[in-house]
Symmetry: C2
């Protein structure tokens, strides 16, 4: 497995593949890799000849400096996981080269995709995501890039941006991977103590109960949101950031839910922010609930 740091080395690596006609898939990550990331690498391997994983905690997508400072870093373990997963290269760019002095260019998606949910909760977040993903794709120039459905809004924003800017990469969204207790895998889960984790389970449990209610005929979005809130807000130290029913047709908030809708929620558990969502027409989340 090739370990690359500089932009020039990554570019040379990719250019050689382009010339050789080697199909390249790309999995951009912020490190602290878990089974969710590895499922993206696995998916990527089925889509191309060689897989590049990038590991870069992008400062411009953090609205909260404390969240950035506390973001877990486990580089040696990450490299080992990538090697075991069969990645051909890992790219670990550094911020001095990604955002040199005087850096002043930003990429932004405007409109329905970025006027709600995480966009409101984290001002500037998607601008940072779009900017860094444009940069990463411009250097790696992959045939295909794989993103996790756990961050659904991010995947939709990136997909739109990639198409609008004609970046020429196919964007694939792979399913959320969950722990056996139902919690969506996330690097931030590393910050949860067992007690916090027990409280965090209200999130997948609330979403699953709301999904079941929808399947049983409840289509009033406010009622579905109430079900999530009731599961979550009973615990001390748990705050709801947002909870909304959003239609994937036009990404608009829906007063009445239908099969094109997703129930999306973000919560703080003792200050750690977790997001999750469930497609109302999708499969059950495996949770312990009566």
């Amino acid at each position: 497995m090739d370990e690359l740091t500089s932009i020039a080395d990554m570019r040379t690596w990719s250019r050689e593949r382009l010339k050789a006609g080697t199909r390249v898939a790309f999995v951009p990550t912020m490190g602290a890799l878990h089974q969710g990331h590895l499922s993206l690498v696995e998916k990527a391997r089925t889509l191309a000849d060689e897989v590049v994983v990038s590991i870069y905690v992008n400062p411009t997508q953090f609205d909260n400096p404390e969240d950035l400072a506390k973001y877990p870093k486990t580089l040696e373990a990450d490299l080992e996981l990538c090697r075991a997963a069969g990645a051909a290269a890992v790219w670990t760019p550094d911020s001095a080269e990604m955002y040199p002095d005087g850096y002043c260019t930003f990429v932004e998606v405007v409109g329905p995709l970025t006027d709600k949910l995480c966009a409101v909760a984290r001002p500037g977040h998607f601008r940072g995501v779009c900017t860094v993903v444009t940069k990463l794709l411009a250097v790696v120039r992959p045939d295909v890039a794989v993103f996790g459905q756990k961050d659904l809004q991010q995947a939709l924003v990136i997909s739109r941006m990639n198409g609008d800017l004609n970046l020429g990469t196919e964007i694939v969204v792979a399913p959320t991977v969950r722990d056996p207790d139902g919690l969506a895998m996330s690097s931030r889960n590393k910050r949860l103590t067992p007690a916090m984790r027990a409280k965090a389970l209200g999130l997948p449990r609330g979403l699953e109960l709301a999904r079941r209610a929808y399947r049983a005929g409840q289509i009033t979005s406010l009622k579905l949101i109430e079900i999530v809130a009731e599961e979550l807000l009973v615990e001390e130290g748990v705050d709801m950031d947002y909870c909304d029913v959003v239609s994937l047709k036009g990404f608009a908030e829906a007063e009445h839910a239908d099969d094109a809708c997703v129930l999306a929620a973000a919560v703080f558990v003792d200050g750690v922010r977790l997001i999750d969502h469930v497609p109302l027409a999708g499969a059950a989340i495996p949770v312990k609930a009566d």
Copy 2:
């Protein structure tokens, strides 16, 4: 010479060159080609094996719908000029494909480069320029792209954006080409009647007189600007859009001029907007002046 319209065809053309190791230079234009553009193609031919010219009047960089509607279009003549100049391909994308329904992604340079001169005079202009150039570069993926110094601020903004976003293209800025009377070549000159043209000559004449004054020891920017204004504003129907002394170090307005400064001006001549500038340490503009 290959004539390409769709994004897919342009991408395939470029990908073949990349695989073959053919070095490609790119000259993006808005058509209505003149000797200035052809000098860029000539320069491009010295920098690469094959030259692509794009012809596309990009709607998102026009703040004024009337200016967009009146922008000259001379496609058949343009194609002939490109062929004669030795271009390997001409790409004429169409707006339905460049900006499909729901298009919502924009690229923006913030800071000193875009808080003055044309950025103030034409709100949203550089956002439109950066967005379309990102798209064009993403499709053509040239080794090098050539821009005209006539649009100096645009060339500096694009150069910054290209570096910041790691687009991987070398940006070359080629000198302004002037008619024998001193007027900088511009597609908009086609809209000038002989009487308007006579009035427009106050722009290069004023800039040249100010340059001479600087060389003779006048370093107060306001005085240099006054010299330009005096040449221009004596004529009826001529309005100054802006005139400023800007240092290329940090692109800041300079109270006192030095050799790193450029005198930049934009004027309206009976409603037609023309821009020009002169590096104070640069060569003389060939004008008729006492």
